[in-house]
């Protein structure tokens, strides 16, 4: 085998492995849409998206409560997780001394590594009983899911926000100090605005994580098909809808669940797109 041929072969081989991820995305899109769209056509898109009744036994498939559920739960997680996460990132990036940061960073990474079932189990044993005893309802609620998801998105928000804050040139901060601002003011009014697109990216990544989370939400949210009128009521997300019923669904019911996946997928694609727009804007 000549050296030149070997090089060519290797290049082609590596090129092929790179193409695998394109193939994977294409296959995922193809199979989701191929299996979901016929059901969508059968049910009717407006009825499916905006129908508020989900009764597979009588052939009524409306996922509006689930879409609202996903949005509510995600919003709740943001309210809980984003302020805490961003402030912790600020601390790690600009307030912590090296020793504490050295100890905290692996801790945050650890938080990211904990499997979602373990979070779910923790929520089931601690958060749900706590809400049941001290607040109205049986504990399985929008509030429980929001609290748990808020904790789960912390590591994502913290790591991405921190690297955005770390990337702000030192001279910005020093310039602010030279103008007479104190440390806190320099950080809040100069460093944070400079890092804002990275901070936004961290929040959007958190949204993506929260809206796609499945097991932990299923375990604490109650999963009733309803649009909750208070945070103490149960809620079912799109992810929960898929995982709860896929095991026994058949025919149109199965198609409707796959179509739920398609809607979720479209949400995720929009989030990825938004993230790219922000990234591009920050590069200019």
């Amino acid at each position: 085998m000549s050296a030149k041929f070997k090089e060519k072969l290797a290049s082609a081989l590596f090129g092929f492995t790179a193409a695998v991820s394109i193939l994977a995305v294409a296959l995922i899109c193809l199979f989701l849409f191929l299996n979901g769209v016929p059901a969508l056509a059968d049910i009717g898109l407006p009825e499916f998206l905006f129908g508020s009744t989900w009764q597979p036994s009588s052939g009524i498939y409306g996922i509006f409560p689930m879409i609202v559920g996903s949005i509510y739960v995600t919003a709740g997680a943001m309210i809980v997780g984003v302020p805490t996460g961003l402030l912790t990132a600020l601390y790690l990036s600009r307030f912590a001394n090296a020793k504490i940061a050295q100890f905290l960073k692996p801790g945050v990474e650890l938080l990211a590594g904990i499997p979602s079932v373990v979070y779910g189990f923790f929520g089931l044993m601690i958060i749900v009983p706590f809400i049941r005893t001290s607040m109205p309802g049986n504990g399985f609620s929008l509030l429980a899911a929001s609290l748990l998801l808020g904790v789960m998105i912390l590591p994502t928000v913290i790591t991405v926000a921190q690297s955005a804050l770390d990337a702000v040139p030192r001279s910005y901060y020093e310039g602010a100090l030279a103008l007479g601002a104190d440390h806190e003011r320099s950080v809040l009014q100069v460093v944070v605005p400079a890092a804002v697109s990275g901070l936004m990216a961290s929040v959007i990544l958190g949204v993506g994580r929260a809206i796609g989370e499945t097991m932990a939400v299923v375990m604490v949210a109650g999963n009733q098909v309803q649009i909750p009128t208070s945070i103490f009521e149960g809620v079912r997300t799109m992810t929960a809808n898929i995982v709860l019923e896929m095991g026994y669904a058949a025919d149109l019911h199965r198609g409707a669940l796959i179509a739920t996946g398609v809607v979720l997928f479209v949400f995720i694609l929009l989030i990825t797109l938004l993230l790219n727009l922000i990234k591009r804007r920050s590069e200019i």
């Binding site: 290797a10 790179a18 193409a19 991820s21 296959l27 307030f95 499997p115 809206i211 796609g212 896929m246």
Partner: protein
């Protein structure tokens, strides 16, 4: 203006500082709270019966699930690691800058990274389980996981390769080595710690996954019998440790055993994370969880 004087400014700065300290404290408390709670309740319940070879509804042994986890993760990584490393080598070492193909690959990897695990599970069910006819099986679960961790391995390997100084490559080329030899003899050995870190990270992802496996690998708490069935055992349904924990927790019958199972899973994942950190640090490659 209350804050125009020096005193007011100092007060404001102090408030800002304490709010930030408070939030950090909250994060730390939550971390230790979760770990401590699971460990304290689980460790006393680690009984020998829990590690019996056979699962029964009485002993709810986690051993079959544990072995299945190793099998499925090993298989998934066997598929994903060569593909992920190859793709990263292509992106860093072979592709020209501004190449259209590279842009598409990057966009695809980024898309894969954002897809929630339940969508992977759904895809695995439609493609591997149904279209390819593998049924709920070890094989279908492993392939689904492989696609899921592919972007993780790609990204970490890419970072590790980028961290290798260009002087190494130039020196290798200068000595007359071709691109292929440069990659395998110069670049890869230097980048190994970072790559291993990424692989361990992917392993951790596999170990903790449920949503992608529930409808691809199934939830039968038995180890496939390779001795009797040979290759066909790959197409037996399996339950991994994380799925096992989910099943136990949602049954709600064996609370103590569930805690113990959670501890085993948690310790496994923490060990893997520490390992990934250790290897990643060896090369000084910074790792970010996206």
């Amino acid at each position: 203006m209350a804050f125009s004087d020096a005193h007011g400014r100092r007060l404001k700065a102090a408030i800002v500082r304490w709010v930030i300290y408070g939030a950090t404290l909250l994060t730390v408390a939550v971390l230790f709270g979760i770990l401590g709670y699971i460990l304290c309740n689980g460790v006393p319940n680690l009984t020998p019966e829990l590690f019996a070879w056979e699962y029964t509804t009485d002993n709810v042994s986690l051993m079959p699930a544990f072995i299945n986890t190793i099998l499925i993760a090993a298989l998934a990584l066997t598929i994903a690691v060569p593909l992920g490393i190859g793709a990263a080598i292509y992106l860093v070492e072979y592709a020209r800058r501004g190449n259209r193909f590279v842009m598409v690959v990057r966009a695809a990897a980024e898309t894969l990274q954002g897809i929630p695990s339940i969508i992977y599970g759904l895809f695995g069910l439609l493609f591997f389980v149904t279209a390819l006819g593998w049924r709920l099986s070890l094989m279908a679960g492993a392939f689904t996981l492989a696609i899921m961790v592919l972007p993780v391995i790609m990204r970490t390997t890419e970072e590790a390769l980028l961290a290798v100084p260009n002087a190494y490559r130039e020196a290798s080329f200068g000595l007359g080595a071709g691109r292929l030899r440069t990659v395998f003899c110069c670049v890869l050995p230097t980048a190994i710690p970072g790559i291993v870190g990424g692989v361990i990270l992917a392993l951790g992802r596999c170990v903790g996954e449920v949503a992608a496996l529930l409808y691809t690998a199934g939830s039968v708490a038995e180890v496939p019998n390779f001795l009797q069935q040979g290759f066909a055992a790959f197409f037996q349904p399996t339950r991994t440790l994380a799925t096992h924990l989910y099943v136990l927790a949602s049954e709600g019958l064996h609370t103590q055993e569930t805690f113990a199972t959670a501890v085993v899973l948690l310790i496994l994942v923490i060990t893997l994370n520490l390992g990934a950190n250790f290897f990643a640090k060896k090369l000084g490659v910074k790792r970010e969880d996206g």
